[in-house]
């Protein structure tokens, strides 16, 4: 059965399902008619850049149909829909084994069609040491972004996705395999789109995988940003941390749902999830629901937590005693809150560049 037929054969997902509890499929479907697979979907423009200088040899982007692997754990609705809609809009980012450019590579995805979709497959070679920032920008009503792939054995990768779309809806589905002894920092920075639904899944299927999932989410006005993160420990001696910071202003709503699955046999797994929400306005809402499914007894630890609250009054007072007005202090505290996860995502060069992007958004919001 092809992916279109598969999608059309499925029932609309029920809201009782963890993934669809807060933002139903109908709301993030490009037309709202869930029995429809739209035609004439546009392809965004993809290009590789560097913060400074030329793109080094050893990394390339290849356009063409890429076999989509690694989606078995993804939600059937989104995986079949995304496969169907990205058939003509597929790229592979290929990184040579041992590639270590010493600088950050930017994958720019620019959209200008009302409805666009893209599949990007990451193929990170063995022992590569690589920072990739995927910058999603432009103006559209709907963008579907499917990211699949794997980080090669012994590689060290920062894989950061930045959403600065001018409104519209972003549906993002990630399915990334982390191979043996591979270290991954998977970052999400989101300050664009009116509506975002992300289903981000990471699987450590071999020993020694080390994953840090980091989020810096800034919502304002009437934005609705819903991120679901699943981390699968399917092998012994695997490590994961999730640290997700959302700053919510205006009438916006953010949702963070986590699912940590430790399979039987994953001895020595060490996993923790923490969602933190900073409520900037009285009408903003933030929900965080971390969940655990641990099927192995001999683990180092598995924990989760969540915290929500307004700007800390004691921190405000402290900055006030240093001459910073209440507005200045609030702005600094919000930036600091987002920066504390941003700074863990990669090198100084990348961090400075990312801070620049978020600073513009903070200024634009007038926080």
């Amino acid at each position: 059965m092809d992916s279109s037929s598969e999608y059309l054969s499925l029932e609309e997902p029920h809201r009782a399902v963890h993934l669809w509890r807060y933002t139903p499929w109908k709301r993030v479907h490009p037309t709202g008619d869930t029995s429809d697979i739209p035609e004439g979907v546009g392809s965004p423009r993809l290009s590789l850049k560097c913060i400074e200088g030329d793109v080094p040899e050893g990394v390339r982007i290849i356009h063409g149909t890429t076999p989509i692997e690694g989606l078995p754990e993804s939600d059937a609705t989104t995986s079949s829909f995304m496969r169907a809609i990205t058939q003509e809009s597929s790229w592979t980012v290929e990184v040579d084994p041992g590639f270590s450019p010493g600088k950050t590579v930017i994958l720019e995805i620019e959209v200008d069609s009302p409805i666009s979709a893209a599949h990007v497959c990451l193929k990170i070679g063995r022992h590569a040491n690589f920072e990739l920032v995927t910058l999603v920008k432009g103006d559209c009503e709907w963008l579907g972004l499917l990211r699949t792939g794997s980080t090669g054995e012994g590689s060290n990768t920062s894989d950061i996705v930045v959403n600065v779309l001018d409104g519209g809806t972003l549906l993002r589905v990630d399915a990334i395999h982390i191979e043996r002894d591979s270290q991954v920092k998977a970052g999400t920075i989101s300050s664009g789109s009116e509506t975002t639904k992300s289903d981000l899944r990471y699987r450590m299927g071999e020993p020694g995988g080390n994953l840090n999932v980091l989020g810096s989410i800034l919502s304002s006005e009437d934005m609705s940003l819903d991120h679901h993160i699943e981390i699968h420990h399917d092998a012994p001696e695997t490590f994961s941390r999730l640290d997700w910071h959302s700053a919510c202003g205006g009438n916006s709503k953010t949702v963070g749902t986590g699912m940590l699955r430790v399979a039987k046999g994953s001895r020595g797994a060490d996993a923790a999830q923490l969602f933190q929400n900073l409520l900037i306005s009285e009408t903003a809402q933030a929900d965080s629901i971390p969940e655990l499914e641990v099927s192995e007894n001999e683990v180092v630890g598995c924990g989760h937590g969540t915290a929500s609250g307004p700007v800390d009054e004691d921190q405000l007072f402290y900055l006030g005693t240093r001459g910073l007005s209440t507005e200045q202090a609030k702005s600094m505290l919000i930036a600091a809150f987002l920066n504390s996860t941003l700074t863990e995502m990669g090198s100084h060069e990348m961090h400075d560049w990312l801070v620049g992007i978020l600073s513009d958004d903070l200024d634009a919001l007038g926080i």
Binding site: G323, S325, T326, Q328, N339, S340
Partner: protein, 259 residues
């Protein structure tokens, strides 16, 4: 007294929090160029006095006034007091993960002393000198404010801020606690640099006389139960160090308040 008006004048200050009176009518006057100290046991109201001078919003001012160079500051927000020249070194400084020390210092100096003071070679030189005096390494600048700092690092960072902000009135709340002997000497040198030979002033809040040996305050006030029960010269600190507070509390219980 080198100025016409005292740098700090606290008069008949009554302060409460959630209906409980903590400060029960205190009077302290610090002339320009002088360093005073408040000593007292835990819970006597010393930190409340420091927070009220700085404008902490949790406290209710029930009566009295706090003046900086003859002007009441009670209606000013904390940041306005800071820009007027008041500085508070905290007993427990707040950690702000994600806020880099270097950026924070530049922005606070800009807010208090103006944009020009936070720009260019002059600021960098100022910063370098202050950090050198306090034995703070340059790597400190890329850390986050008080995040993961040891007790001693926090106190040195408070003094670094004081040296850069150049306040007219520095209030130091238990800055000596958690510091070793060398740390106390270093911090005391910082306080002396900001006040001695200037028209500024300082109020040191402490349990112990150790820091006072290095700072040599002009006057010491003893606070018990939200009141100043004794004021005197530096000898008072030695007396308290030798005899503790019990004898003083007994005298106060008998109705003595002495100068």
């Amino acid at each position: 007294m080198s100025g016409e008006k005292p740098i700090l004048a606290i008069s008949n200050l009554h302060v409460g929090i959630e209906g409980t009176e903590i400060l029960k009518g205190i009077d302290i006057t610090i002339p320009s160029g002088e360093i005073h100290a408040i000593m007292g046991r835990n819970g006597s109201g010393k930190t409340t006095a420091a927070n009220v001078i700085m404008g902490h919003p949790s406290y209710d001012i029930e009566d009295g006034d706090v003046q900086l160079s003859g002007e009441s500051i009670l209606d000013l927000e904390p940041w306005e007091r800071s820009r007027s020249g008041v500085f508070l070194s905290f007993q427990y400084p707040q950690a702000v993960p994600g806020l880099q020390v270097g950026n924070f210092l530049r922005k606070s100096v800009s807010s208090v002393r103006g944009d020009d003071a936070a720009k260019g070679a002059a600021f960098r030189e100022d910063l370098k000198n202050a950090m050198s005096k306090l034995n703070i390494p340059s790597s400190f600048l890329s850390r986050y404010v008080n995040d993961g700092f040891s007790g001693g690092e926090k106190k040195r960072f408070e003094i670094l801020q004081m040296m850069l902000l150049k306040p007219r009135l520095a209030v130091l709340d238990e800055t000596d606690s958690g510091l070793d002997i060398d740390g106390i000497r270093t911090v005391a040198e910082g306080i002396n640099e900001v006040v001695r030979g200037t028209e500024n002033g300082a109020l040191i809040i402490t349990h112990y006389s150790r820091i006072l040996e290095h700072v040599q305050p002009d006057r010491i006030h003893v606070m018990i139960g939200g009141k100043i029960v004794a004021s005197g010269g530096p000898g008072l600190a030695s007396l308290l160090e030798e005899n503790g507070y019990d004898w003083l509390e007994e005298r106060v219980a008998e109705g003595d308040v002495f100068e």
